[in-house]
């Protein structure tokens, strides 16, 4: 019986189905906020206020012709979209949604594991770019790799710094610790800013959308994907956005802890705040060049993250 409930939880709530639907709603929110900041309406016609637009986009892409380049590395080209979707979905299982202390699955050290999954996501992007053997894709893939090397280290430092203070490496443990004490954004504001900027880099959003800068590289590493594969790629980006904002909410904003409302609502609320911040940054800045982004990550973000760690250790 336990197994059946576990499998149902895995598939429906708060597992794959719930996360997918929620991530589509997050994409809609992101598009809506971004559009309103630009004097536009954003999605409007599909469903109330266009809330079904992301779903409609996915369904449309699923029905489109799927073209594979003749010279592409077939198997990697076919497998990477699946890997791209699987990795953030797996990561979402470790986010403590229903209870404060633990996610659907969790163990001591799952924070590191989730970070590994997010890194593998970027590695899959590089593979996808390499397999599609397109010139734009290759350059996009190289840029993704450069960005991975630049943002990974400050990101890991800034995400792991709270666990020094809390003395635990599990996401649930961090959330529990914060529900008893103050959230980490108050104690380690620099760390939050660094992690926030690094996640924008990992998610490849403006101003760090360099790997798929459309005016330079068409669609960057995703240029050759079409039809179902593109649908999977698009969906995976949404899920990664959701996982990243929820992870940040868990580590720095205290996750599901809060009065009155159940944990899941608090978590969604807090991650939406982070999403709105990301949309604001997206509307506010121009795209950096890859050298500028890498320099910024190594010379500004990494030292800042280290300073935060030192402060956390000494204070």
């Amino acid at each position: 019986m336990d197994y059946i409930i576990f499998i149902l939880e895995m598939i429906i709530f708060p597992g794959v189905l719930f996360v997918t639907i929620l991530s589509l709603i997050y994409e809609w929110l992101d598009r809506k906020i971004y559009a309103r900041l630009q004097h536009r309406y954003g999605p409007l016609y599909t469903g109330p206020s266009g809330i079904l637009q992301p779903l409609a986009d996915i369904i449309k892409l699923l029905s489109k012709e799927d073209i594979e380049p003749e010279v592409a590395d077939r198997w990697i080209f076919r497998l990477t979209p699946i890997a791209l979707l699987t990795l953030p979905l797996t990561a979402s299982m470790y986010i403590p949604m229903l209870e404060l202390g633990r996610g659907l699955v969790s163990f001591e050290g799952d924070l590191v594991f989730v970070l590994l999954l997010l890194t593998l996501y970027s590695v899959s992007i590089v593979l996808a770019a390499w397999a599609s053997t397109n010139r734009f894709s290759s350059i996009g893939g190289i840029r993704t790799a450069i960005q991975l090397f630049s943002f990974e280290i400050p990101l890991v430092i800034s995400i792991l710094t709270p666990s020094i203070e809390a003395g635990t490496l599990s996401i649930g443990g961090l959330v529990l610790w914060q529900s008893r004490n103050l959230p980490f954004i108050i104690m380690q504001p620099i760390g939050f800013i660094v992690a926030f900027l690094c996640f924008i880099g990992e998610l490849e959003r403006i101003p760090f959308d360099i790997p798929h800068a459309e005016t330079e590289l068409v669609a960057g590493w995703a240029t050759e994907f079409s039809g179902r594969k593109l649908a999977l790629v698009r969906l995976s980006m949404d899920v990664e956005l959701l996982v990243a904002s929820m992870l940040l909410a868990c580590v720095y904003l205290g996750g599901g802890s809060g009065p009155l409302l159940p944990p899941i609502l608090w978590l969604i609320l807090k991650s939406i705040i982070i999403l709105a911040l990301m949309s604001n940054v997206r509307a506010l800045l121009a795209r950096f060049r890859i050298d500028q982004a890498a320099r910024g990550a190594w010379l500004i973000l990494t030292p800042l993250a280290l300073i935060q760690t030192l402060l956390a250790v000494t204070l």
Binding site: R40, T215, E216, L284, R289
Partner: protein, 410 residues
């Protein structure tokens, strides 16, 4: 060389150099041009340009029509500076026919001309913002531009192809209410452009446009670039001041020529921003001093058209992108013997090569945009790729022959 072998050479990738086809169809380009950019890592080492994807044969088409029909045809050369083209053409005709338009007509021509300059420059500022990935600024700039298009619609009835000019004058007059509306809009646009100017001086934008695409003063003079591209490199030329046409002679004191010495993308952008302010000054002066009188001759245009004798004339105007040149040769019976158009982008495109070499891939779109390329106006190389898989360069005469034969068959 056959087309196939050309493709093969494209696919071949050297490990130190990668050739990226930038165009003819590319999100950063609004019109087709092919820039073959060779890169080493992210650095551009060579650029090769190919034009001719949208050759429309307008010069040839014009020769088979009468002058009034040609007037509407050449308006379609450019979708942005359509009024510049008709003004330039009409000026040549008026010179040949000895027709002098009334003062009011000249002022109205100048008014539309300057409004078009504002509209064109705003369009380009938006495009530059878009190329550096700053979509919010792009949306904002085009939001401002949208209103001037509405204003065009109120004055001339059309948003893009105004069809304002006619032989010996203009087709539409201003009402006092329109004068007020234009004045109110100018205040609004002044405020918005000041804001846009501030945003362009912002940190992240500055990072992407300063010190890029340098075209030195010497290169600019040597390559004969025109318009804001030349003025951004410190070359002090402007047809409006140097060879005044329309009402610019009387408005000389109301504007100054903006020259920047930065030589980079930012300088070219700033020239355009400051030129919008100058245009606003000109428009205000025009509205202040708009003379009374008829806007066009009483005679029927067709009679005027038939009255234009055989002759030839060269006409110059300062289009938003730079100096636009027309050579017009009439046949004396209401038709054209020869029409030759030299659009500003044709002069400016050649300046791209020194700008691009040494920059990074990420900078290619914004540098290309910074000369404000209007490529459809520029296409004139006739390379016909045949079904047999050969590509031939065909000279104008044999093309003319072919087109005529096809016409005859139909």
């Amino acid at each position: 060389m056959t087309a196939e072998r050309d493709v093969e050479r494209e696919v071949e990738v050297e490990y130190t150099r990668l050739r990226i086809p930038f165009g003819p169809i590319h999100p950063a380009l609004k019109e087709p041009v092919l820039l073959r950019v060779s890169v080493r890592g992210e650095e551009v080492v060579d650029v090769d340009m190919a034009l001719g994807h949208v050759h429309r044969g307008i010069e040839l088409l014009a020769e088979g029509r009468n002058l009034i029909q040609t007037l509407y045809l050449i308006e379609r050369i450019c979708g942005i500076c359509s009024h510049s083209h008709t003004t330039c053409f009409i000026q040549a005709l008026e010179e040949i026919g000895g027709i002098t338009p009334s003062k009011r007509a000249l002022y109205l021509r100048t008014l539309i001309f300057e409004m078009e300059r504002i509209h064109s420059h705003l369009l380009l500022l938006g495009v530059i913002a878009y190329e550096i990935g700053f979509d919010t600024l792009f949306m904002f700039t085009w939001h401002v531009r949208e209103k001037i298009l509405d204003l065009f619609e109120k004055i001339t009835g059309n948003r893009i192809h105004h069809a304002m000019n006619t032989i010996g004058g203009v087709r539409w007059d201003l009402t006092p209410r329109m004068v007020e509306e234009i004045d109110a809009y100018m205040r609004e646009v002044e405020k918005s452009v000041k804001y846009i100017h501030n945003v362009f001086m912002d940190g992240t934008v500055e990072k992407r446009v300063c010190g890029l695409g340098v075209l030195s003063y010497d290169d600019a003079v040597k390559l004969c670039v025109v318009g804001p591209t030349a003025r951004g490199s410190g070359v002090d030329i402007d047809v409006r001041r140097d060879h005044p046409y329309a009402a610019y002679d009387e408005l000389k004191r109301d504007f100054s020529v903006v020259v920047e010495r930065g030589c980079d993308v930012y300088a070219r952008t700033e020239v355009r921003i400051l030129e919008i302010f100058e245009s606003i000054n000109i428009i205000r002066a025009i509205l202040d001093r708009l003379p009374d009188g008829p806007i066009r001759p009483k005679e029927n245009v067709f009679r005027l058209m038939r009255g234009i004798p055989e002759g030839e004339a060269i006409s110059l105007v300062e289009a938003p992108r730079g100096e636009l040149l027309y050579f017009v040769k009439t046949d004396g019976s209401g038709g054209l013997k020869r029409l030759k158009v030299r659009t500003p982008t044709f002069s400016n495109l050649i300046g791209l090569k020194p700008m691009l070499i040494g920059c990074e891939i990420a900078d290619v779109p914004v540098i290309v945009a910074s000369i404000d390329p209007c490529l459809s106006c520029t296409n004139r190389l006739i390379v016909i790729d045949q079904e047999r898989g050969e590509s031939n360069v065909i000279d104008v005469d044999s093309l003319r022959h072919r087109v005529r034969r096809r016409w005859m068959r139909q």
